[in-house]
Symmetry: C2
Amino acid sequence: MIDCGEGAQLQFRAMKLNFQKLNCIFISHLHGDHCFGLPGLVSTLGLLGRTSDLHIYAHADAEKLFAPLLRYFCKELPYRICFHAFNPEKNELIFEDKNLKVTTVPLKHRVPAAGFLFEEKPRSPHIIREMIDFYRVPVSLIRAIKEGAPFVTDAGETIPNTRFTRPSEPPGKYAYCSDTAYYEQIIPVITDVNVLYHEATFCNADSARAKETFHSTAAQAASVARAANAGRLLIGHFSARYPDEQILLREALEIFPHTQLAYEKMILKV
Amino acid sequence: MIDCGEGAQLQFRAMKLNFQKLNCIFISHLHGDHCFGLPGLVSTLGLLGRTSDLHIYAHADAEKLFAPLLRYFCKELPYRICFHAFNPEKNELIFEDKNLKVTTVPLKHRVPAAGFLFEEKPRSPHIIREMIDFYRVPVSLIRAIKEGAPFVTDAGETIPNTRFTRPSEPPGKYAYCSDTAYYEQIIPVITDVNVLYHEATFCNADSARAKETFHSTAAQAASVARAANAGRLLIGHFSARYPDEQILLREALEIFPHTQLAYEKMILKV
């Protein structure tokens, strides 16, 4: 989960997501709309009988602020909460498992803030069953073939690996950048992402206000996407002043054609 | 506002209530579902430019827990938050203005908890315009007549006050009792309320669970309403285990006929 504003647990439930599958929460910065949902979510996970650790990645102040509250309100929690502090000014690896790497993306906001880059690791190629059968490859060698080895037949013939495998889908890359002013330093860090979520609080006419509040315009978000060669751009965090967000979409589309507006409960394939 | 669970500000907005009219929040007890909405609401009131004080009535721990959070997240709040600690074990007056009195109703729960009794003060009687004109009562005497004085005509005739006034609506009395086990001591404190809100977490079949968790059954809520001679009973705080809350309503209705199920965004005239 990225960020956890007030009501996040209600949205989680409304979308019928599985609470058991939630293991890590990445908090971009300590403004209420990005973290006030933590105490409620933590309590609910306790009531649901969770036993495995929950990892919260955030600025060091998060633990100082929320740990006393959680100690008071969630006295007999059946699971552990592990706070992991990161330095929002650094581009650093904060999470890694066999499938995924998460690194921080320093942002420019009124308080220390970081975005997150999620990179899938390359997957093994797919085995072509028919060829395995045709050459009678023993099961014991399949792992080696998945890892790229050729196959040598009983007659001594070497069959290249490419005959047995076809490449898997390329690993996905997703970057989340919110909240932030226009910040060029983001670009090299997130280059070639499949999907970039970038905040777009204001339209061009309000660019002075964007600068003042350390937020971005839709056009700025689109410039970042274009410069970073993103596959698609998802914009969000719209100011409530715009009754119709199409103005933001139009301004972004002029610069970066593959732009979409984010909306509540949106599901997006990376 | 009574209690402030997560998402209270969203419901407030969804109901198009006026944030400017919110001056006092009464927190019954420090369980998350009754107070996790405070930081978000306080922030939003700040963003809306509130300048008048906001009063929060709660157990003394509320200030210890929330004040550090509010100091961090709501640094430049344009208004003051005044915490007022009350002792949940006592039936005491905690708020009074020219229209209303609020007293605490000690409850029996797993943590210190109090309900609240809201009592309107008697209103002045209505003036009968036609009679004032008929007897040519000078404007300067109207206040005295509103307060019960008779009127003496120029001819020395005394006209009784009842000729000039008709009684105003009787003052309303509303009690909120949640969360609590069945607790007889509530009854004398809330006698003759127009409306009683009483929690009804469980049905009769789960009364052991009610006892264990310091909650009430619907039938217990109804017994309290009957013994207190309440006008109407509103039950709520239903356990999620009941897909259909009609079972709770039926069990309450057997004991107290003027019972209704509470639902989200319900509007009820006291």
